[in-house]
């Protein structure tokens, strides 16, 4: 890493407009393309402060600042367009979380990097609507939260209540949501309203290690820990009435359920296994990167292909996982209100993936190109009339589900044409961490955090309360800042805002 005084570093950064900064070549060595990031005034301060801190003499260890990570990604072979940082960006393993980068599939030197997908492969958000209103749910929210908590096991080391054997798992890895459909856990319409229709076709369970499968098997249908949660939310604000009505959201006060989860230990193991393989491949193919964490392999190499197939299997695992929790949520609601999920109109509005690499066609310099798009902590946001979004959303653009921090608020955005041009159809994914986990544990007290939530009238069920301060709103950026920046920059449009009334958490 180049170490320069802060003021020298600033010379490589240029503010293009109110919401976008450019990172010029030379900020980090060997940059193939420029970088950029989207921020508003407050997020800009956080971003630059992080850079400033890393420039202090004697600052060593820990993650590189987000800006530096964007620039390092811009130095990877085969990258096209720009290396893009979304407003919720924060440091991660190799790639920052909230960084998207696209690689030209026709360039034999192009790479795929597990760091660009993240450890929680196909972590994502699913939103279920109901025809209930706040007045129906408020009186029973404690029981409902408990019922959800009983149905969906949470926390580190939790085990699911859907019986599965090794053969079931193999099939689920290959079939994704089609497995859940075949077994009858979900509805046909759920598949229609899921990114990629809930199944990556190139998945190959044979490329997944035994260890990953062993870790994954008992965890299916569990929420996990960390920032994952299931929330009962209430529609708080509708910005775009017509798009909201297309999603079945008619009025303020309508109750929805948000599930934020991923591929659990399975995806983590797939990523870990791949990193080991890729270090070997880098040596063999003489691939040089600025950061050891940016382990990668050529897309067409054996290691690259193996990773993509295993990653697809992990993505399928995550979809089956979210589908299983959809089933359990419907059961919990149906029991509570003594009716059927059908009568509660519990349809999936949409299901987004925010940690994934996918092959997509985009326009680059006026030409259509096949790209491998890495989105880590970034959500796909395709515009109206894109062939890959469901027919119901052809007029509105793809729904983008942005989960906020525990106890704050969440948003639904829609994709735009401008986002397609500027960010390869990508936008933010959540609030984005502001304090590291360790720092939050040191600075905050878990009792205070829980009390605060209670005061705001949110029912909460937590498996490991002593870790709850890691997820306290204070540890995160303000999701409203993040979403407003995306809206103002035009890379997605605000549609609906929701606030939680009950939370269950790992």
């Amino acid at each position: 890493m180049v170490v320069r005084p802060y003021n020298d570093e600033l010379k490589y950064l240029e503010k293009i407009n109110d919401h976008c900064w450019r990172i010029k070549k030379g900020f980090q060595p060997n940059m193939n393309v420029e970088g950029c990031f989207y921020v508003n005034e407050r997020l800009e301060r956080l971003m630059l402060e992080e850079l400033k801190n890393s420039c202090r003499p004697g600052a060593v260890g820990g993650f590189l600042p987000g800006v530096k990570q964007i620039a390092n990604v811009a130095a990877l072979p085969g990258i096209v367009g720009r290396s893009i940082g979304l407003p919720d960006i924060h440091s991660g393993y190799g790639f920052a979380i909230g960084n998207m980068a696209a690689f030209d599939m026709d360039n034999p030197l192009s790479v795929v990097s597990p760091g660009g997908v993240g450890f929680d492969i196909n972590c994502g958000v699913r939103l279920l609507r109901t025809n209930l209103y706040e007045r129906d749910v408020q009186p029973v929210k404690e029981q409902l939260a408990q019922s959800l908590f009983d149905h969906i096991p949470v926390g580190v080391g939790s085990k699911g209540i859907i019986p599965m054997n090794a053969r079931d798992l193999e099939e689920a890895l290959e079939m994704g949501m089609d497995w859940s459909l075949r077994e009858g856990y979900v509805w046909a319409e759920d598949k229609e309203h899921c990114e990629e229709y809930g199944r990556m076709l190139n998945a190959d369970p044979a490329k997944v290690s035994m260890r990953a499968k062993k870790r994954g098997l008992p965890q299916l249908g569990t929420l996990g820990a960390g920032n994952h949660y299931a929330e009962i939310q209430v529609v708080d604000e509708i910005y775009d009435k017509w798009s909201a009505s297309k999603m079945g959201i008619e009025e303020k006060g309508q109750v929805v359920v948000m599930i934020h989860s991923g591929s659990r230990g399975f995806g983590h193991q797939v990523a870990t296994d791949a990193l080991v393989q890729m270090e070997k491949a880098m040596k063999r193919d003489k691939i040089e990167t600025n950061d050891r964490q940016l382990a990668c392999a050529r897309i067409n190499s054996v290691e690259g292909q193996d990773y993509l197939k295993a990653m697809a299997a992990a993505a399928n695992f995550a979809w089956v996982n979210r589908s299983s929790m959809t089933f359990l949520t419907r059961q919990a609601f149906a029991k509570m209100f003594n009716t059927t999920p059908d009568d509660l109109d519990m349809h999936v509005i949409y299901d987004v993936s925010h940690n994934i690499a996918k092959v997509e066609n985009h326009m680059v310099d006026g030409k259509e190109k096949k790209l491998l798009v890495h989105r880590k902590g970034s959500t796909r946001a395709f515009p109206p009339h894109h062939p890959l979004i469901p027919v119901d959303y052809q007029l509105t653009g793809q729904p983008v589900l942005v989960g906020g921090t525990m106890g704050t608020c969440s948003y639904v955005l829609t994709g735009t044409e401008q986002g397609m041009h500027e960010t390869f159809g990508s936008t933010c994914h959540g609030a984005g961490r502001a304090l590291s986990r360790a720092k939050s544990r040191r600075n905050l007290d878990y009792k205070e955090v829980l009390e605060k939530l209670e005061q705001t009238g949110i029912a909460i069920r937590v498996a490991s309360p002593k870790l709850v301060m890691e997820e306290a709103p204070e540890s995160y950026k303000d999701v409203t800042d993040v979403v407003d920046t995306c809206h103002a920059a035009g890379i997605s449009r605000k549609c609906i805002k929701m606030r939680p009334i009950a939370v269950i958490k790992g």
């Binding site: 926390g155 080391g157 077994e183 027919v391």
Partner: protein
């Protein structure tokens, strides 16, 4: 569009044809007959020449429309569009070779000689060969049906027949009549987030309509897919849970 068509036919003042003025309309029709269509001999055009006496002209025009075999069209604009289209077709048929170079690539190979006028079209039949679709009686039947159902005219009666079939299927079939009326808030089609062509309403409107039709057929396809999945689920689905397996983490 009318302006473009007039321009291509060499009308001296294509931009100045005001449709609201009946007299101007009459003179445009006369110009088309004089210069392009030439259905009548010069002497027979006498009545159409009475632009200054619109009563006589209207009489001549009614007969002229009938002689042109123009379908019953209501507005002046529709009539002019149809006559312009007719004139252009005649102009094209005078020397199709002239326009060969601007044909699209796909139609060129077959377009060389086969598409020349006068070449017998393949005889198409329906209902196991019992009805020849090019027979006059059949064509007249289709036209009559279309006019009863208020379906706009199309030069190819088979295309019109398809439209008839669609209207019957969507609106008049027993299944359609018994269909529940659609409930919910309608989505105004000009309120979507999609940008079509905001500065050009002439392009914007039909584009939106076409896209809606495309979305409708996609929706039908997706519904069929969903129905198929559900029918398979009836055979395979057996969701199980076992709460004994559950374990909440630390």
């Amino acid at each position: 569009m009318i302006k473009l068509k007039l321009e291509s036919l060499g009308h001296p003042t294509p931009s100045d044809v005001a449709l609201s003025n009946r007299k101007e309309f009459a003179s445009t029709i006369l110009w088309l007959e004089d210069q392009k269509i030439r259905l009548y001999t010069i002497e027979d055009r006498e009545k159409l020449r009475n632009i200054d006496n619109l009563n006589i002209w209207e009489e001549g025009y009614t007969k002229y429309c009938a002689d042109l075999n123009m379908p019953p069209l209501e507005s002046q604009c529709e009539q002019l569009t149809w006559i312009l289209g007719h004139a252009m077709r005649l102009e094209f048929l005078d020397d199709p070779g002239l326009y060969e170079s601007i044909n699209s690539k796909q139609s060129q190979p077959q377009g060389n000689n086969k598409q020349q006028p006068g070449v017998q079209q393949n005889v198409q039949t329906i209902f196991d060969g019992k009805i020849n679709v090019q027979e006059k009686e059949f064509i007249a039947g289709v036209r009559l049906l279309a006019s009863k159902l208020k379906i706009p005219h199309h030069p190819n009666h088979l295309v019109q027949l398809e439209a008839v079939a669609r209207v019957v299927h969507e609106r008049l079939s027993p299944a359609a009549k018994n269909r529940q009326p659609i409930v919910g808030t309608p989505f105004p089609f000009d309120k979507g987030n999609d940008v079509v062509s905001p500065n050009d309403p002439v392009l914007d409107y039909p584009m939106r309509v076409l896209r809606l039709l495309q979305i409708q057929s996609l929706r039908q396809l997706q519904t069929q897919i969903n129905e198929t999945i559900v029918s398979v689920q009836n055979l395979t689905a057996n969701p199980k849970t076992d709460t004994k397996l559950g374990k909440v983490g630390r």
